[in-house]
């Protein structure tokens, strides 16, 4: 039995689908952020998998994932700062309370 590329991609797809589901359904903003991390993580994993199986000689996918992790960290920090700010203003972290930005 070989551990081919598909074996690794399937958990990635499951992670991604869970992330999408959570992002759309959860009302808590932190929970949405957790879902977002799932999506991001699955994308990172994909980079690495493709790097390993399709281009074993290079390491660009890994480098890209390193950058993505750094950006994810930055994005999470900012997002949490915003969520805390909203919490101070609104009193909870419910996304349905934050819908003023519209027509």
């Amino acid at each position: 039995m070989d551990l081919s590329i598909l074996w690794y991609l399937v958990p990635s797809v499951i992670m991604f689908a869970c992330g999408v589901f959570g992002f759309i359904t959860r009302k808590n903003m932190i929970a949405m952020l957790i879902s977002l991390e799932l999506i991001l993580n699955s994308a990172d994993l994909n980079f690495v998998i493709f790097n390993r199986f399709l281009f074993p000689g290079s390491m660009d996918g890994m480098i890209f994932t390193l950058f993505a992790i750094a950006i994810a960290a930055a994005e999470t920090a900012i997002a949490i700062a915003i969520i805390i700010n909203i919490y101070r203003a609104v009193g909870n972290t419910d996304i349905s309370g934050v819908n003023k930005l519209k027509f």
Partner: protein, 646 residues
């Protein structure tokens, strides 16, 4: 001669315009007036020096032919290799003559205005505009190329507009200035098209290049024809259209009578002596080319002859003295046009007759007419100044109260009527001689016009100075004007007395070779007889108050009304512009604009509006909905891509 003096002739009026226009408000009136007069006096002196040295220094004459001197000719705009516009100073006989005429009249008017405009608001502005006009007019006559002429042509149009509308608080003055500007602009459109056609074929704007070898111009135009006439003829007729506008030829004459809304000295300067003869000057400038463009000369002659007669008839039935003089101006300019039109470029003297006689006579009449018509206008200004009305019914019997004005005005009338030995006699005699030599019909027709001229001028003279005294004189006695106004009258009257004895043909002819003027006795006798008869008739009718004019008027009431209303030209224009152009053409265009173009644009806006209100619900502010939509969109795109490429 260096180029310093000629440049100064142009630079001083321009400088005075800038000085008085920018700094005039800060100056007292006296300073402003004196500055303007001094500036113009200097310019006049310089112009005389330049012109007289041109006429009398032998260096400008080679083998008996006066040379056309390019004092300077500077490239101004260079578009392509062939399309180059120059600015320069071309000195030749007609230019030198015009320099003298313009500066003399302008100086007289500057001096006169000091008295006439003394109590008006905007005195400084007035002097600034006068300087601007003098500059533009001088630039026009010295133009080396037709494009420079066009530039200054528009500049004189602008200064004319500004000066007609000088009393800008009067609605009539404002509309008159607009009328003058718009009518002449329309004519100038033709002028511009003519210039473009001509220069397209000849690759040059330069007068000297075009006129020194007109045969080559014709050759360059080739056999190109348009609607039965050669392209050259079309170009020259279109150029003449510009002249028709400026010189108030029919049917573009309607602006000139209204232009009398301007101050009277302005009428004397611009609308009698200088600007309105620009059309004549233009034709004279291009004369050799006109001669070779078959048909254009006939066109000029016919237009001139009709205009001359029309204006003379209308002048007989006007009440406003300035309007009489305006129509007289139109008639006299038309006289010059006819004289130019009958001239030919035949280089030889055929027996007694010289083909270019009409050209010489036309220029001669331009010269003398400028003097006596300015005199008449300035005299009219003095009358208006004294009586405070333009209307001769408010005048009458003024000869006792205003002797200087009376005598100078009489001299002006005699000159324009063509009585020996006043200047008008000599120039008119030469013109009539040229016309009779061309065709007896033109001679007879224009002799009749000359008779009418004598009649309406003396009708005006008697109605102002004889007839019956206005009883209001007892409350407000009219008197002669201050010296600033009388001096120009006297000077111009003196010039009108002696100018006829100038051997004009020695100086100005079309081929710049001297020509010896001699009086054509039969022609002179005829015209003199006609003039004397006309004056006698005017004397009988208008010397003392009598019912004769009333009876004459009642004999042909329709004719009188028609002439008084200037044969309804204004009404015709009104009808064409308002009923046909505004009412039919513009209305339908406006309908199209409103209901098709605007409606299309409104439709776009409406569609956008509807679409936005229909889809704005998508922007709910709910981030998760956005994500769901985005995700669905991404999936769809992926599906479509996959379907298309796999």
């Amino acid at each position: 001669m260096g180029s310093t003096l000629p440049i100064l002739i142009l630079a001083i009026p321009l400088f005075m315009f800038l000085l008085l226009g920018l700094g005039g408000v800060k100056m007292p009136r006296k300073v402003c007036g004196v500055l303007g007069i001094l500036g113009m006096g200097t310019t006049m002196t310089l112009a005389y020096i330049v012109a007289l040295s041109y006429f009398f220094c032998p260096e400008f004459t080679v083998d008996g032919v006066r040379q056309q001197v390019m004092v300077f000719d500077q490239t101004w705009l260079s578009f392509t290799d062939t399309l180059v516009v120059n600015l320069g100073f071309l000195l030749d006989p007609i230019c030198a003559m015009m320099l003298m005429v313009i500066t003399t009249i302008s100086f007289m008017v500057h001096l006169y205005s000091w008295g006439y405009m003394e109590h008006e608001d905007g005195f400084q502005r007035y002097y600034a505009f006068l300087s601007l006009f003098s500059f533009s007019m001088l630039g026009l006559v010295v133009a080396t190329n037709i494009f420079q002429m066009y530039i200054f042509w528009e500049l004189v149009g602008v200064s004319s507009y500004l000066l007609i509308g000088f009393f800008y608080k009067l609605p009539s003055a404002v509309s008159a200035s607009k009328k003058a500007f718009i009518v002449t602009r329309f004519a100038d459109l033709g002028f511009l098209i003519g210039i473009l056609i001509l220069s397209f074929y000849t690759d040059t704007f330069n007068f000297v290049e075009m006129t020194s070898n007109p045969g080559q111009v014709l050759a360059e135009c080739g056999g190109a024809t348009f609607m039965g006439a050669s392209v050259l003829t079309w170009a020259m007729v279109l150029i003449f259209t510009g002249g028709m506008g400026k010189s108030a030829m029919m049917p573009l004459h309607i602006w000139l009578p209204d232009a009398m809304e301007g101050p009277t000295p302005v009428s004397a300067l611009i609308h009698a002596a200088t600007m309105v003869v620009a059309g004549v000057y233009l034709v004279a400038r291009m004369f050799p080319v006109y001669c070779i463009a078959e048909g254009s000369m006939t066109f000029i002659t016919v237009v001139g002859a009709i205009t001359a007669f029309y204006a003379a008839v209308v002048a007989c039935a006007q009440i406003d003295i300035k309007r009489v003089l305006a129509f007289s101006t139109i008639s006299q300019i038309a006289f010059m046009m006819v004289s130019l039109g009958v001239a030919t470029d035949s280089p030889y003297i055929k027996g007694e007759f010289y083909g270019g006689l009409g050209y010489m006579a036309s220029m001669f009449h331009l010269f003398t007419h400028a003097m006596f018509k300015a005199l008449l206008f300035l005299g009219a200004g003095a009358l208006i100044h004294a009586v405070h009305s333009n209307d001769y019914t408010k005048m009458g019997g003024l000869r006792k109260y205003m002797p200087i004005t009376h005598w100078t005005f009489l001299i002006g009338c005699l000159a324009i009527a063509g009585i020996w030995p006043f200047s008008g006699f000599f120039s008119k005699d030469e013109m009539l001689a040229a016309m009779f030599e061309s065709h007896w019909f033109w001679g007879a027709w224009m002799t009749m016009v000359a008779g009418l001229t004598a009649f309406y001028m003396f009708r005006l003279y008697y109605l102002i100075f004889w007839w019956e005294e206005n009883p209001e004189y007892k409350h407000h006695t009219p008197h002669d004007s201050p010296w600033q106004m009388s001096l120009p009258l006297i000077i111009l009257a003196a010039v009108s007395c002696v100018a006829g004895f100038i051997p004009f043909g020695e100086f100005v002819t079309w081929n710049r070779m001297p020509y010896h003027i001699h009086i054509e006795l039969p022609v002179a006798a005829t015209s003199l007889t006609v003039a004397v008869l006309a004056i006698a008739l005017a004397t009988v009718m208008y010397r003392k108050k009598n019912p004769l004019p009333e009876r004459m008027r009642n004999l042909f009431p329709a004719l009188w009304t028609a002439a008084h209303r200037r044969f309804y030209w204004d009404e015709i224009y009104q009808f064409i512009t308002h009923k046909i152009i505004f009412g039919i053409i513009c209305k339908s265009i406006a309908w199209f604009d409103r209901h098709v173009i605007d409606a299309t644009m409104d439709g776009f806006a409406k569609i956008t509006n509807c679409a936005s209100s229909a889809i704005k619900g998508f922007q709910s502010g709910n981030v998760q909905a956005y994500v769901a939509w985005y995700f669905i969109g991404a999936v769809l795109l992926a599906g479509i891509t996959w379907l298309c490429f796999i």
